[in-house]
């Protein structure tokens, strides 16, 4: 394996001069650097960790090891979603009490270690996060893609435990998306054949994200033809879809994302290895592959994957105000507690909750025990939810925009009127 050039401080960590946990953490960071052929390590100034997401004893044992070691993070560390909510009591009949208590213990340990307990998969919607050019540690796939693509912060996709080890040492391998040459656009998706109305339709960005993930795998896509004023919520949905159907950790959109003012910049002077021309039929195919059902009685609506933004709350409040969802179904919106507080302060939650919608914080509908009992037909505006949920929950899914989800929830039946 390639040798990694370490500074005196990094070598001191690796030699155990700062305790056995720093030594262990640095040994994992260095091993990752060797595998990625990084010549050296670089400093990172922010982390968003996924290891707080309990899914078995190993997560708990790792967190307890940190708690016993009395470690402190030298950089700000924010936390990803949890498999349970800490605010809502989601102890339904089918939620295993050991699972809920394990998840809560892991969360509590990371909070006590000094992490900022934001419990969100969309940390970029909160103030005070990283900015353009910052070297950071990301883990959750949609956040990695959003930070790299839309914010212009730089991160590889760090799996559980390595995210924490990088945060403990404040170091990342100088490799991949941390480097200029690792951020060059590779595969073009030409959207110039789509109408302006279609490009601005809410469903289009997540569908393009889904197609990008399927076709680009883990290479870096470049979108040509996306409108310059494409809303951040649409870019969020796109990043999430591309990270789910493929391994896309970064994309460029010419004239939209900060490292792609023009094609020259996106390709760093080079040319695409491949060009995919996207036509309206491609979107239709993607949409039908994300919907296992398109009619019939509706059992649940799931919005907020990734976590709902304040703008999405404004849209939902406007669409649902003065109405009431059908009594036979559940309507969940997942969000961060910070965003929920902001929405409440703005008076947006009253009309939404009066309509019968439940706000779920800290977690996501597709793994929370609050929703495990969910069966039947579910509507979502998230291509990521539609991609994962049928494999994880006993549900049939219909992917559609927010307004169709609301109209269907009121009727109690899947109703698709606002199609692109």
């Amino acid at each position: 394996m390639s040798a990694v050039d370490l500074s005196a401080a990094e070598r001191a960590d690796l030699n155990g001069e700062n305790g056995p946990l720093r030594q262990f953490a640095m040994s994992l960071v260095v091993r990752a650097a060797e595998i990625w052929r990084a010549p050296c390590l670089i400093k990172a100034g922010f982390a968003h960790i996924d290891a707080c997401h309990f899914n078995g004893q190993a997560h708990l044992d790792f967190a307890r090891m940190l708690a016993c070691g009395n470690v402190r993070f030298p950089i700000p560390v924010w936390t990803n979603t949890l498999p349970v909510s800490l605010l809502q009591n989601d102890g339904r009949a089918d939620s295993d009490p050991d699972f809920v208590s394990g998840a809560r213990e892991v969360a509590e340990i990371y909070r006590k270690l000094g992490c900022r307990p934001v419990w969100t998969c969309a940390p970029y919607q909160l103030p005070g996060g990283p900015g353009f050019g910052d070297q950071i540690i990301g883990s959750e796939s949609n956040a990695v893609a959003f930070y790299n693509s839309v914010v212009g912060a730089r991160t590889q996709k760090y799996g559980d435990f390595l995210d924490v080890c990088c945060a403990l040492t404040g170091r990342v391998p100088c490799a991949g998306l941390h480097r200029d040459d690792g951020r060059r656009g590779q595969v073009e998706f030409d959207l110039t054949g789509l109408s302006d109305a279609l490009l601005r339709h809410e469903e289009t960005c997540p569908l393009i994200g889904h197609i990008m993930g399927e076709r680009a795998g883990s290479s870096i896509p470049v979108l040509r033809g996306l409108p310059g004023d494409t809303p951040q919520d649409n870019l969020k949905a796109m990043a999430a879809a591309a990270g789910a159907s493929g391994g896309v950790a970064m994309f460029h959109a010419i004239g939209v994302t900060p490292e792609a003012p023009d094609a020259e910049a996106a390709y760093q002077g080079g040319t695409p290895e491949q060009v995919h021309r996207i036509i309206a039929d491609d979107l239709t195919v993607a949409k039908s592959s994300l919907s296992t059902v398109t009619s019939g009685q509706l059992d649940m609506v799931a919005l907020g994957t990734p976590h709902f933004s304040i703008h999405e709350f404004r849209r939902l409040a406007q669409a649902i105000e003065g109405q009431r969802i059908h009594a036979d179904l559940r309507f969940y919106v997942s969000t961060a507690r910070f965003v929920a507080d902001a929405a409440r302060a703005e008076g947006l939650l009253d009309p939404i909750e009066r309509a019968g919608v439940e706000i779920l914080t800290d977690t996501c509908t597709y793994f929370s025990p609050a929703v495990r009992a969910c069966r039947g037909r579910v509507m979502t505006n998230s291509a990521k939810w539609a991609f994962y949920a049928p494999g994880m929950l006993p549900v049939k899914v219909c992917f559609a925009g927010l307004e169709d989800c609301v109209a269907s929830a009121i009727r109690g039946e899947i109703t698709l009127t606002n199609r692109a």
């Binding site: 994992l28 595998i35 799996g159």
Partner: protein, 147 residues
Amino acid sequence: MQLLGKGNVLNPGKAQGALLVLEDALSFWGGFDPQTGRILDDHHPQKGASIRGRVLAMPHSKGSAGTPAGMAESIRKGVGPVAILLRKADVNVTIGAMVAARLYDLHIPVLQVPDPLFAQLVTGQVIAIDPSGHISALDGGTSVIGL
């Protein structure tokens, strides 16, 4: 015992067991049954095969932030492989094995194996791996891990 070759050690360990050579990458996060070790992924060509106690040879892992945790958990519960041979070095699998070694003192060797050697690996063949990465063929024997 016949020496087949040497792999690049990503996580050191000593093991022996029957090979399971996977044609496609396997996800350690949802790709197999965490109770039995059987491959569940509908899209995997070897769905139904068990990774439990096997020396798992695969091209690389399928990425997910949960991969290292899924890997460490499978080692803890004894439903995972006794060793992993990768064609392409993989950070997630390596980190999962390093964390399991630290937490549970269970040392699953993870090796990156050169293409010509990887091509010789056949499902069912019993092989032994030593901590410095030597891979040998055995005539028989059962699956064992541990330094």
